[in-house]
Symmetry: none
């Protein structure tokens, strides 16, 4: 196995390759280092099979989309990831094969709802859930400290103590740790109850990095940032979020509800299906189709996507264009289908 | 043999490759062109064996460390180089093999104390000691005009006149020269005695390039520049430099002396050994271990490394943190051992 971190900085990208079958995956590639990754792959004679994001990043633009376009590697993310072009949605217990290497997926939400850890051989890639002597912040992008605690204690700390830990970020120059070391020395977790952990995480008082919301939305939507001015956090927060059952109630009433599905055509007709009567306008085609929507300007509009992130961006864009009553389906078609199956 | 300059600008990086055994070395790679080098190597199907810096650069960040990380190539520099991650320390007369090519090392200090020239086949890579119609400046980074004169006259000008000359820098668009041409036309040397050469070099009055001290220190230390604010030239110059015999005298006296060795653990326990009683705190772990040193805040502290450069940076960092009496072992463990063997 060839295993290397390729950025040598705070934000880490891992190459995992089988040197028998010459197949490789990249984990958490960053957009600005694409040429380096391609050069390293070419230098080692490796074929890129998968590009994997351990979660939707908010600190850097993901390189997955461009790498996938350039190499035909499949984009792999958790099933809750909002990214519109994921080829393989994974969940707890799924396995990915890279030549002779087997990578096992753990579902480890907390820093974000779509966080995964990757277990292989003697090591685990912990994304931003468990970091060296730290844990990923949980105060934006759908973070949840209770979930993070459970992911760390129940999933990651169940691995053998000698398991090597490779995080997606480190701000102090560390490169690796072990599960045993983190159990003994991680100050966020050591000797803390779940309630104490939640209290700490809710009171970190960290500033939000510059442009974080813009980067997050670009990674969620893959919208070309030259074509759209992305909504601010305040504009996104003003969008009214509707639960699936609330929408079902509205649809049974006489007031007309306009359902706009902003996924791709493939997703609209794919495994998650779509809500009957909804109008398909993919997010990246929103401005060119805006005239078709003029007649609904004063109606109640509900925007829909896979997980609810892209549609919140779309709802805020429509609000900014003068549409007055735009709401969002919280959790998207994933939540809609789950509610239907209950 | 494949021989190419890969930057096509003032600052030059040479690829030397054996096209029989498909092995290559890069001489003086710059950090910002790493992707290009890897792509060229991959394009030509070459395996990178060594990355060589002809000296510690002050005008650009060296690409050696990152290239070594990405390809497992060995870092080669002169034995006086302060860089903490050198794999192969070379000196006058050593030979490096790249496939069927033999590269002979000449020790050519003057621009810096760790300057080498590389002789192969019909040519010599002269670093910044001998340049085309010029010579490397000697007014910082341990430069010494007398040594530079001797390196040029005794070493480089002993090569056959037809030897091709490839320097590490050229500011006038030249790409190559010959030893014979430089003997006849180099205005810094032509018709000048050693004393006249020294006088010229000491009166060039060149401004110091922006950020030169920062780049130099980063190349000397490989410290993460986001984690540390590097000392200024003035702060470095204020550090008291102690000779090995002065330190020996101090250690025999009753006033306590705290010896702090800032090399890596491998170096501390390596061939140069360490001074008995010295405390190991690698430079990149200095801030996280600062609490351990609090009790020595008012004691006499002497900082130690391999060649004295990293320890001067460490001494200035400690002074900046409020330690009052911090000195440096001039010349580091190399000088210490040399003094012991006299």
């Amino acid at each position: 196995m060839l295993f290397k971190e390729l950025n040598l900085c705070k934000c880490k990208t891992y190459l995992i390759a089988c040197d028998v079958q010459n197949q490789a995956v990249l984990v958490d590639p960053v957009l600005e280092n694409i040429e380096r990754y391609l050069a390293v792959l070419a230098y080692n004679g490796l074929k890129l099979i998968d590009v994997i994001d351990t979660h939707t990043h908010a600190d850097h633009r993901s390189g997955c989309t461009l790498l996938s376009e350039l190499t035909d590697a499949k984009i792999v993310m958790h099933r809750l990831a909002p990214h519109p072009l994921v080829d393989v949605h994974v969940d707890e217990g799924d396995e990915l094969k890279v030549g002779n290497i087997v990578i096992k997926v753990l579902y480890t939400p907390g820093h974000t709802p779509d966080g995964i850890a990757l277990v292989l051989d003697d090591r685990v890639l912990t994304g931003d859930t468990l970091m060296i002597r730290g844990t990923g912040r949980t105060d934006f992008a759908g973070g949840n400290p209770a979930e993070e605690y459970d992911s760390i204690i129940e999933k990651l700390f169940s691995l053998p103590d000698e398991t090597l830990v490779f995080p997606a970020h480190d701000y102090r120059g560390n490169t690796q740790s072990t599960i045993g070391e983190e159990k003994q020395k991680n100050p966020r977790i050591l000797g803390k109850s779940k309630e104490q952990f939640i209290h700490v995480m809710e009171n970190l008082g960290l500033p939000l990095p510059d442009k974080i919301q813009e980067v997050l939305q670009l990674n969620q939507t893959e919208l070309d940032d030259d074509l759209y001015e992305l909504p601010s956090i305040a504009e996104l927060n003003r969008i009214f979020q509707l639960e699936p059952n609330e929408i079902k109630t509205f649809l049974g009433q006489s007031t007309p509800q306009v359902l706009i599905d902003v996924r791709s055509e493939a997703e609209f007709n794919g495994e998650l299906g779509h809500i009957e009567g909804s109008i398909l306008i993919p997010l990246d085609k929103l401005s060119e189709n805006i005239e078709k929507l003029e007649k609904y300007k004063n109606d109640n509009i509900i925007v829909i996507c896979r997980s609810g992130a892209r549609s919140t961006t779309a709802a805020a864009l429509l609000t900014g264009m003068g549409f007055e009553n735009v709401s969002n389906l919280r959790g998207g078609m994933l939540a809609w289908n789950e509610a239907a199956n209950k």
